[in-house]
Each structure stands twice: as structure tokens, then as C-alpha cells.
Subunit: 265 residues, 3 copies
């Protein structure tokens, strides 16, 4: 477990700048959780400064939660610039399968941008899988299947990236190794943005270590531990949210080693 | 009071999806309060996915708090689609009378969209009344009058909807019945977005019950109870906000029956 | 110190309306902190209502944190209208030196709008100085210098306004007098938006008193005191944020006189 715990110290030492093009619902929480883990957030939707911001950022997080016409243009462009500059790009394909517009945006992103990590819930990861296999399976049949592990591995190989599928048990794979994380609590679902915050944390890790697989696992486990603490100490989604943030702020190697539930296969 | 309390259980059982086109100031609070009451929020400003989102949403909330050119177009279109699909539409006409641009948007919405509930503070409801009666009364004279009950009833009949006018005593009417709610505390005014959150709660209720009159009353009373608890337990608008959220999260029929102050005439 | 403390009472008595064109990351915190100090926030990005809003607002705060094409147009126009109407304008030039697009926007604002107060961190104030002195010094050499006091004074005289440069010791000058504020704690940097909130507070003060120098000092000290309390009582940037808000909410003359550390030279 030490290699996982070490990621936390690496973020706190390197303080990477994490550029996030994210949704307007949870943008404040994403900025605060980035600070909580010891990294430095930059949020901008300005096309004219993409190159300038990416020149000094260590990672780019693309979250399509409230995508619209102007954001669609910017995220593809930002992803391409980040690729050119060799900065890792993290994709949070919020609601990927829910609407046609989101499907098209995710397809375009997958076509134009090389990602370091794609993190979504099981439905979103399955939606990405369905997109590229529509002819023979369709989205619906994929949705109803339980083979998330196979799907995630296949996607990881296809896109040469780490796939993180969050759910009751979270799963992270680089196409060869598969990690299962059993931290977390159902109260995480009652606070808006805990998924987005996990994406921001993964961006923070990828800005500090090149081992994206280990980074993604550590951050998903960290958010899960925060959810467990929120459940124990909170009274509702107002206090849950505050405890989640405080727990991430206080996270260190010792605390992590005491609480993380990770199996790598 | 049991019919009011039952609305809370109905929301928690049906978990309606509430599509909210709302302002960027309080969008996070609106999402969290929707989760707190047991419904599921979707926020999107993307014109291309209005139909897709409305096809699976149970209600639409339109809040014009930070309306601009692009939002003006989207809310009218979204309202018309929701009407076509038979989904209830809730209007929160923030600052309706404050600027010419808002007046024009509200007029257009009232002309093009059929609303289930219009909820505003007394000034906003009076502004709507003034709009449609400019020739003989003007906005100013209406503003200074105290006849909110008559005005709300008249508007409810005219627009065939429920009108909720929040104030020291909150008033809800469907044109025949009038409910007065005496929950709440002045501290609600010190937390930004408590009005918007009330709109999100009413959207949640309307997504779970077709009795919009009862739904609106229950939700306004719920927010009022949360404000009373915030006043008792909080130290300022930081903690007030958290207690409001936690109180809504914990609200159930028993708690509601103990605290609600509602008179129906 | 009494003249500083009095500003707090003046805001609470006059309840000025503070129009804020600000970033989408911290817009909710800016609205809440404005309410906490006793003023009334209005947030709008709608070009069509700039004149209407400014006609009843007491001050305008321009924060360029998430500026983009449309915001660039609006802030210049809003600043000019506010000048025409004699309302004080406060500039928070977030990231002024970080990208070319921001430099250009700040230069344009300085050219077209007369500001009452420009508040930035030391790097931002130095960036503004560098802009106008590029030929002989360049931004980098200025960045590395320690002469913030001279620079701030020179800018205050040049732009005939109050310059506030926040840092380990905060500095406020009108070109003649220089105040140094030693309140604050490093935890303020772990909560996103504490700088933006300070700008909102200065806007609140400038809406209540014409003595912008005194107003800016009092508000920077107030935010610093809130940071000190957060450090003492909080467990992380979730609770820090709440304590900051509650402390501002509870601030009064007595509390201020007990805690403020201000030297005027």
C-alpha cells in the first residue's frame, strides 16, 4: 500500500497546477478539493488563454457536466494543446450516455485527444463502450450487462489509458492490472459533485506522478475514505460536504494506510 | 396536515429527476437541496439536449437569476418542450421587476409557457401583476399596495397555475384556496439562494405529485422550518447554510408535522 | 482605530447594493460574504441590464477570474457606465500577469475605466506595474523585486485610486498614506475565493463610505481576522470556509477593535 500512500506526499510536495475546464455546478468544490489535497487549481473557459494556461499547468481535467456549444469547442482544443505539450489529460464524461449531444462530444474527444485517465461511473464507462460498438451491441444491451471489468480493460487497451469506473466497488485498470477499491459510502451520492471532485483529485495526482494508475487508485480511495468519515460524523449533505473537504485536507500517508481498502489483481 | 407531510415521503419514494435551468450564483445549492429532499437534479444550459433531458425529467424549474441572451432563448424553448411533454414547469422570476430585460423575459415566458407554479417574493409577484396591468395601475402603485392576496389569486386564475408569494408570511394560492405559512426566520435572507432552493424544492415536489398546490405549500414550509433551525443552531450565514441543507436532508413526515405552521382558507 | 471600525457599522446601516461581475468559481461565496457584512449583492452578466442595475447599485466590483470574450465586453461597458453615474468601481485583476489575454483586458480596463480601488495580490499588482513599464523593466524583473510599497504608491498616484496589495503583510495606499495590515493566516490560501471575497467586501465598504482608503483597510483586516479564527477553530478548508463566513457575519466594532492589526504610515 505504500506506493499508493506516497502519491499523497508527492502532490503535497510538488503542488502541481491543475487546469480544470469543468461544470458550473461543482466548480467551487473542485477548486477547493484541489487545494485540500495540496495542488493548485486554475479554472478558465477562455479560448484565448488555453495555450498560456497549459504552458504552466501540470495536468488538464475536462469535465463535461454543463457542456454547451462554446465549451465543446474549447475542450477539444485544450485537449489537443495539452497532448502537444505532453501534459496528462483526465476526462470526466459526465452523463456520457444520457443525451445525444453528450455522446457526440465524448466521441469527438476520444477521437481527437489522448487521455491519461478516463473516470466515470459504471453507466458512463458503459456508455463510452457502447458508442464504439453500436453496430453489434447497442447501448442498452451494454447498459444491462454486469461485465464492467472486461469493458474497462478493453477500453483501457483501446485508448491506451487508465479507465476508472466508480460504483459500489470502484474499479481502476490500465488494461493489464485491475484494482478494486472498497472505500466509500452511499452518502457520497447525496452530495453533488463528489464525482467531479474525484476527477479533480485524479488530475492533481497525474500532475504530480507519471504513474497514473497508482494516482487514480489513491485518489478514488481518498474520496471514499472521506465519504466514510462524512457518514460517521455528518447530519446531512450540508455537513457531509464539509467533512469530505476537511478529510481530504487532513489526508496523509498514515491516515491513508489506516483506511484504504484496495486490492490489485 | 397529513396531506402536506405525505409529499415528503412521495418525493423520497419516487426520486423524481428535476431539470433546472438556473443561475450560476446558487446552482450548487439548488443541486444539493434537490438531493437533500430525495430528488435528483440535472443542470444543463445546452440547447441541443433540451429535448433529451426533458424526455426523462419529471419537472422543469426555470430560474432567471443570471439570465442573459443565450439563457433567454433556452428557457422559452425548454418551457415549450416541457409543456408539449406534459411535464410541470416552475418559474422563479428572480428580480422580475428590477430591470427592463427581466420584465421582458418574464412577459415572454408567461406568453409562451404554461406554468404549474410561479414562486417569487412579494415584490416579484407584484411586478408580474403590474406588467399585465400597466395601462391602469403601473408597477409603482402596485408595489406600494398591500393586497398581495388578491393579486396572487387574480394571477393564479389568469395563468391557471399555483402562485406562491414568499414574505414574512408566505402565501400560496390556486385561485380558490389560499394557504398561509408562518414558518421561516429572517436569517433565511442572509444566505444567498434560499429563495432559489425553495424553487428547486417545489420542482422536486411537482415531479412527485400532481397536486402542485399541496406540493408548493409543503416545500415552502420545509424551507421555513430549516430557517428556524438555522437561527437556533447557527452562528452566521456560513453555518446557517449548512444547517438549512442538513435540516432538509433529515426532513420526514414526523418532523414536518411537529414544525409546520400552515393555515388553509 | 475607531475610524476603521466605524466602516462596519456604516455598511450595516446603509446596506448598500453591490453589483458584482465576477467569476463562476467563487460567485456564491462573494454573494454570501456580501450578505455577511450587511450589504446586498447583485450578480448579473447581462449586457442589456447593465444600466438598470447600475442605476440602483451603490458600487461595482469587477473580478476577471473567469473572464472570456463576452465578459470582457461587459466589464468595460459596465465600468464606463458606473463612472458616468459616479458609482465607485473596484477592480480585482485575478491572474493579471498570468496570461496575455488577462494582461490585455486589464490594460483596457485601466485605460477606459476610473477605479476607486484596485485590489490584487503582490504578483497581480506587480503585473499591472510591469504592463505600463514594459520597455524599461519587463514583468519578470518587476516580479522579482521587493519594492511593492513604492510600486503601489506609484500606481495609486498614476491611476488616482487606492491600491491594495495583499500578501504576508497586506498593504493599502492612496499614494500618500500607506497602511500595513498584519491580520490573516496562511489557511486563507487554502480556501478558494478568499481574495475574491475580500474584493466583494471592499465593494461593500465603498458602497457605504466615500473614504475608500479607510474602507479597503477595514475590509482586508476583517478578512484577515476571519482567517485567524478559521485557523484556530477549523479542521480543514471545508470548515475554514464556514468559519470565515460566520466571522464576517458576526463582525462588529468591538470585535474589530480587539483584533485588527493596522499601522498607518
Amino acid at each position: 500500500m505504500n506506493n499508493f500512500a506516497k502519491v499523497i506526499s508527492e502532490i503535497r510536495e510538488k503542488k502541481p497546477i491543475v487546469y480544470q475546464i469543468t461544470n458550473t455546478v461543482t466548480i467551487n468544490d473542485c477548486a477547493n478539493v484541489t487545494l485540500a489535497i495540496g495542488a493548485s487549481p486554475i479554472m478558465s473557459f477562455c479560448e484565448d488563454e488555453l495555450e498560456d494556461v497549459l504552458s504552466f499547468a501540470s495536468a488538464l481535467v475536462i469535465n463535461i457536466g454543463t457542456m454547451d456549444k462554446s465549451m465543446r469547442k474549447i475542450v477539444v482544443k485544450a485537449g489537443k494543446i495539452a497532448n502537444k505539450l505532453g501534459k496528462p489529460v483526465i476526462l470526466d464524461p459526465v452523463g456520457a450516455g444520457a443525451t445525444q449531444a453528450r455522446k457526440e462530444l465524448v466521441e469527438k474527444l476520444l477521437e481527437k485527444v489522448k487521455f491519461a485517465v478516463i473516470k466515470g461511473n459504471v453507466a458512463e464507462i458503459k456508455a463510452i463502450y457502447g458508442m464504439k460498438n453500436e453496430s453489434n451491441r447497442g447501448v442498452d444491451s451494454v447498459e444491462s450487462s454486469d461485465n464492467i471489468e472486461e469493458i474497462a480493460k478493453e477500453l483501457a487497451i483501446k485508448y491506451n489509458c487508465v479507465i476508472a469506473a466508480t460504483g459500489k466497488v470502484d474499479l481502476v485498470t490500465d488494461g493489464k492490472r485491475v484494482a478494486k477499491i472498497e472505500n466509500g459510502d452511499i452518502v457520497l451520492g447525496s452530495v453533488t459533485g463528489t464525482g467531479c471532485m474525484t476527477g479533480a483529485l485524479i488530475g492533481s495526482a497525474c500532475g504530480a506522478t507519471e504513474d497514473y494508475f497508482t494516482g487514480a487508485i489513491t485518489m478514488i480511495s481518498t474520496m471514499g475514505i472521506a465519504g466514510e468519515k462524512a457518514k460517521l460524523q455528518g447530519n446531512g449533505n450540508g455537513s457531509f460536504r464539509q467533512i469530505i473537504m476537511d478529510t481530504v485536507y487532513q489526508m496523509n500517508e498514515e491516515e491513508f494506510l489506516n483506511s484504504a481498502k484496495i486490492r490489485v489483481e
